[in-house]
Symmetry: C4
Subunit: 198 residues, 4 copies
């Protein structure tokens, strides 16, 4: 990790005059740790059926299907966020204070995702619960877009990275952002707002 810092990529300005805060490894590492914890904590409160008969056990399990569904959805959602992060930051060699800040905002939304999931799978007030969840995901997408923009603008990518990669990632995040924002008013009209996400 240290070596990567002391040997700046060819063409980079000397560390002392550069607006970067060093190599991107520690930012990536810290993000990975936060995502790993958030994804593991999801399973912490899963309901354990206390029924003594086999029939009662499966009835209890299916009665609480919302909990289990919420867990799997959140695991997939956070897993997908991590995949996108993995793909993008694999191309980044340096970090600026602004990139670190957008990444922290993204992490805040990741950390909130298990909470937002507990909110959305609870009973009643569908549109409101849906809004909390959709807002979390929309802000995650927005902060990711801002990170891509910063990487592109400041040239933080490794040498030889095709600029098309960023355009592609940017469009992907913008689509996710738009889908979640549009789904919010739809949720106040119909429970089929989930369809907007697909």
């Amino acid at each position: 990790m240290v070596d990567a810092d002391t040997t700046p990529p060819a063409g980079a300005a000397p560390a002392s005059t550069d607006p970067t805060v060093g190599g991107a490894e520690r930012v990536i590492f810290f993000s990975d740790a936060v995502v790993a914890i958030a994804i593991t904590l999801l399973a912490l409160d899963l309901h354990v059926p206390e029924q003594l008969s086999n029939g009662g056990f499966w009835r209890d399990l299916s009665h609480n299907y919302q909990d289990y569904l919420g867990f799997v959805i959140s695991f997939l959602v956070i897993g997908n966020h991590w995949l996108a992060h993995h793909r993008l930051y694999g191309l980044v060699s340096r970090a600026t204070p602004a990139l670190v800040r957008w990444n922290l905002l993204w992490l805040l939304m990741i950390v909130l995702t298990p909470f937002a999931t507990r909110v959305i799978v609870a009973d009643g007030a569908f549109a409101s619960r849906f809004t909390v969840y959709a807002l979390t995901q929309a802000i995650a997408a927005l902060s990711f877009m801002l990170a891509i923009w910063e990487i592109h603008r400041r040239g933080l990518a490794r040498e030889g990275t095709a600029p098309g990669v960023f355009r592609h990632a940017y469009l992907g995040s913008a689509t996710v952002f738009a889908a979640f924002m549009i789904s919010i008013p739809v949720a106040f009209a119909t429970h089929w707002a989930y369809a907007v996400w697909a």
Copy 2:
């Protein structure tokens, strides 16, 4: 970590046309973090005896032996999963999207193992509780087999890795998968289904 990416293994196609999503380090790191958290969270709910006398303390401790047994079993089970992961991924130099996905499915089962343990050590409905636990482990073994298959098929291993290593790992996982699947119908007939695992 970054350096490993910029110096692709000899013979690898250039990064832009390659189906890999980069070096395997970050996948390994993320997996380690998730496993470390899952294994540590196991001890979170261990019952603390509240008895005031020394005799009462040990009676309370032995009365809740299922909790402690479940903790030790899960620690060993997750520890063994990690050992197998450690051995396999130590040979992997690149990751494809499919490998990342099978690894995520494997992680989902690791994250579920503390929950499955809480399910199996609770009272009653033995066959059902046993089924939940055995299914978790069987799917973990299956996703591990699919990861081995992907590594082998796409040639993601480091140069000089003996192909026998993968056959060996594959057979090991297939045996675990078969043992857990067979143990499920056995559990509906007898409590000795545990014996199938041995």
Copy 3:
């Protein structure tokens, strides 16, 4: 990581006679993991509204605004601590036992920050709750100052690091320390003690 250890920075004394306990990477890594966990655990106890109507949902949410505010404040506070740590330790190449110890004291305060936040957002006894929180932050700043002092005194920084960097970081931490210490007596006079932090 291993390579960085075996290739000491130019000018460093041989490892066997050196008062350092090795490279700084593992200290940085361990700190990152602790901070990542502390920041993720913040969201664990966030209150999920159980209201069935949309109106009740938002009333419940705003009624518990202290919880959510406390979460966001703690996330920002720990995030800022991490940013300062990231900036400082990015310049450090070796660790001494004393540096490791001041870093552990700093980590103790980070680990206590979610607890201190739960204390400060609860109702009543404002000055006392404020004192617990401010003391945590003041000790964090103090231990950070002691770490900077150790790095400077023992020459643990990478070659070519401008000494002004440490003076700047030291002054920053000293200011934070002073602000939190001063805010404590102020809190016993007025609820506006928060203003001292700004």
Copy 4:
């Protein structure tokens, strides 16, 4: 991380015939993550005073002094374990299956330390609670001794490591092991068994 594996230390046998399971980095990393989580989870259940007056707040805080004391003790105990681990494994370049296993046993005791602390700070049954805690620490010391023995016996250290280092670490762990084992019978006679630890 990968690079360190592909460039085995001078004099090491080729990877395929070697009894090692690869470089020690991933074992170190996994251990760091587990220790970081265990140390952070300590603060999870700290009692938040609910008193509304300043006087009541401090009375509540001092009434629960055992909780806070237990937290600080466990933080120091786990912190010290980590320091010893940091010092020892900084010298290790390769891992054998046996080393990985002793390290897992050590990690099991680390993961149990927050639980053992909750046991020892609770009221009553002093000797029994003391025994649970002392056993956890004694087994941690024992597994650490076995790891040192394996490193020494198999020559897993980096080249140029003075053998005196291992003798020193071994004696240190043996002393801790003996102190905790001796303190157990003492605890059944007097509450001053803590003195044996000093």
